[in-house]
Structure formats: C-alpha cells, structure tokens
Amino acid sequence: MIAPRKDNLTAPEAEVADARVALQRLAAPEVQAYGAWRSFGSAVEAVRAVIGEVGEVVLARTIAVSVRDRDAALLLTISNRHLVALEGLSLDANNADAQDVVATIAQALDGAESLRFDIVARTPEMPSSARSWSCQALLEALEAPRENAVTPGIFADVKALSVAWLDVETGAEAGAEAALRALHHMAKARGVFVGQVDQFRQDRPHLALFSMTEQNFAVEVSWQGTLLLAICEASKREELRAMWRGLVAET
C-alpha cells in the first residue's frame, strides 16, 4: 500500500471506495471468472447469463448458480453446450421442453439480478436419461413468448379507462386526434431511444405513468413484448396502480 502524501487533501473514504469499485469494474474482463458476483441490468439478463453459461461449457461440468443474499443454489450439469440435468428445481425433466426449463429457471431466480457461478464438479455423474436441452433451444425459448401466453387483462382495462390509446405493435388506436398525435410522438421517441440505448430492455413488464397536464397523464404498459400507450384522466391514477399491483400479485 502506498502511503498518502501528507499535504494532499484526499476525498472522503466513501467516495474513495466508490472510485475503487468503479476502477475494479473497469479493469475486470468482460466475462468474469467463476466465483465472482456478477450483476445484470434486469432479471431477464440474469436468466440469459445462465443460458449463456450452458453455451460456454463443452466438457462435462456441474455449475452452481448462487443468488446474492439467498442460501439456495441451482446446480446445472452441462455437457457439450447442452443442459443435461438440473438440481434445486421442481421440474419434470422427462417431459419438460426448453420453454419449461427457461420458465423454471426464471422462477427459481425470482427476479434476481446478481449471480455467482462456481464449478462444483469437473467429472459429474451424468444422468441415464437421454434428455437434454441445447443452449440454442434455451435461448430461443427465452426470446419467444409462449404460444399459449395469456395477454393480461390490464391491456383491456387500460383501454377502457383511457381517453385515447395506441397499440404500438399492431398500430390499432382509438381516441381524439390530438391525443393520438401525442401518443404517436411518444411511440416514435421511445423507438428512437430504445434503438440508441442498449441498457434499456423492452422485455421487462412494467406500467409507467407520465405526468402531462393537470387533467391528463400518459400510460405505458409493456408485457411479454406487447406495448400499449394511452392517455387517461388524472382521476384514474390510483385505479391503474392498484390494477398493476393486482396483476403482479396474480402472476
């Protein structure tokens, strides 16, 4: 350790610590070694990292995936870029397809955004079943919404509560011309922004309320790739928030 110069003022300890962590992150390789905590921008990115780990392993390994501040860990047995066994999950491996596996992993991670990967066995016992899931199949399952996915009722509810709405994917719309013009303006600004900024992911479900005027506010609902923009009267704010909390509690 280098002793500080006597006559030089130094930043407070908290700021020095912040700077130290920032420098360490800057110096760290893009793909970090096993045994280090890795943070992700969203829960989906964390699931993607687990699947990415499947794609990195060729020789048979058992990898433990730990979630920060939780005791339980997932144990993934991987070989030849295929996931061949999972422990720590309630999954009927004989009948599960890639979408089932991805959904179960996501459920087990439970929204976690900080994970650690450790190799726990280099010569793992391989299961007798021939069933396995390739990295590619898991990635495709992560990207594709389930065919039988149910669009939640919140889209219909928001439309019913709004004075104008715009389904960004299909272009369907309803409402007064001025309100629709504002919604198209918002959709365009959103598209430009999302294209520029990689940090923001469209796939995270959310309800956003934007202040507009004293009488109205704008709403954005995103769920499984479906995006709805709307304008509602100010009196509907609490109702919308309660609807969202109800949806989250149900799902």
């Binding site: 920032a22 956003a208 934007f210």
Partner: protein, 120 residues
C-alpha cells in the same frame, strides 16, 4: 447541506426507499446516490437510462407551464420515480417498494429537487 446529505435525508424520509439518486439525463450519468452497499453500478446505470427514456418520451407532450415533470415506473418488483424541473437535464430518481404511495413520494422528491437546484 451537501448533495449527498440531501439524498441521504430524502432516502431515510421514504420508508423502503432503496435508492435516492441525483443524475443528468443529457450526460446519462448518476452523479450522486444514496443506497446501501449491495446496490450495483449497473443498476444505477439502468435507472439513469430509464429516466432518460421516460423524459425523452414526454418531451413536447406535457404542460409547458408545469414546474416539474414526473414519471412513475412500476415493475414486478419495485417502483421507480423520476422527477425533474421543466426543461432541466438534472433529475432525481427514487427506487421504492411496489406498494409505495407516489402521492407521498413525489412531493418529497420535488422538495429535494428544489433544494438541490437552489444549492446549485
């Protein structure tokens, strides 16, 4: 009162508040934040990007006479509240619990924003 003191006081004044941050959407940076040790830089960067997106979407759609703008983003896990003075790039971000009441949170954030703008 320093910016750090102001953010610390703001966070402690809102039950369950995990982050109180002051940032700049033009620079896409969180300049100062109050949070616990487990909070990652990536998470703060994500909040800043989300704030920038929210404000970008509402440019030209709101009341130009309004003193402040706010955006509330509810996810499956939490509620993010972004506030800024009209036309300003600097903003305050609060990461709260999903059951937080924005009617209580937003005025506290706006008061802190005024205080920081006064100090600037």
């Amino acid at each position: 009162m320093t910016v750090a003191d102001c953010l610390e006081a703001l966070r402690s004044d809102i039950p369950g508040c995990q982050v109180a941050a002051f940032g700049d959407v033009a620079a896409r940076l969180i300049l100062k934040a109050s949070h616990d040790a487990a909070m990652s830089r990536e998470k703060l960067d994500g909040l800043c990007a989300e704030a920038a997106r929210c404000f970008a979407m509402t440019v030209g759609t709101g009341d130009p006479k309004a003193a402040t703008q706010d955006s509330i983003v509810m996810t499956a896990q939490d509620m993010r509240v972004y506030m800024r003075a009209q036309g300003r790039a600097d903003f305050i971000c609060l990461l709260c619990t999903l059951d937080s009441n924005p009617e209580e949170v937003v005025p506290k954030g706006v008061a802190a924003l005024s205080q920081l703008a006064g100090d600037a």
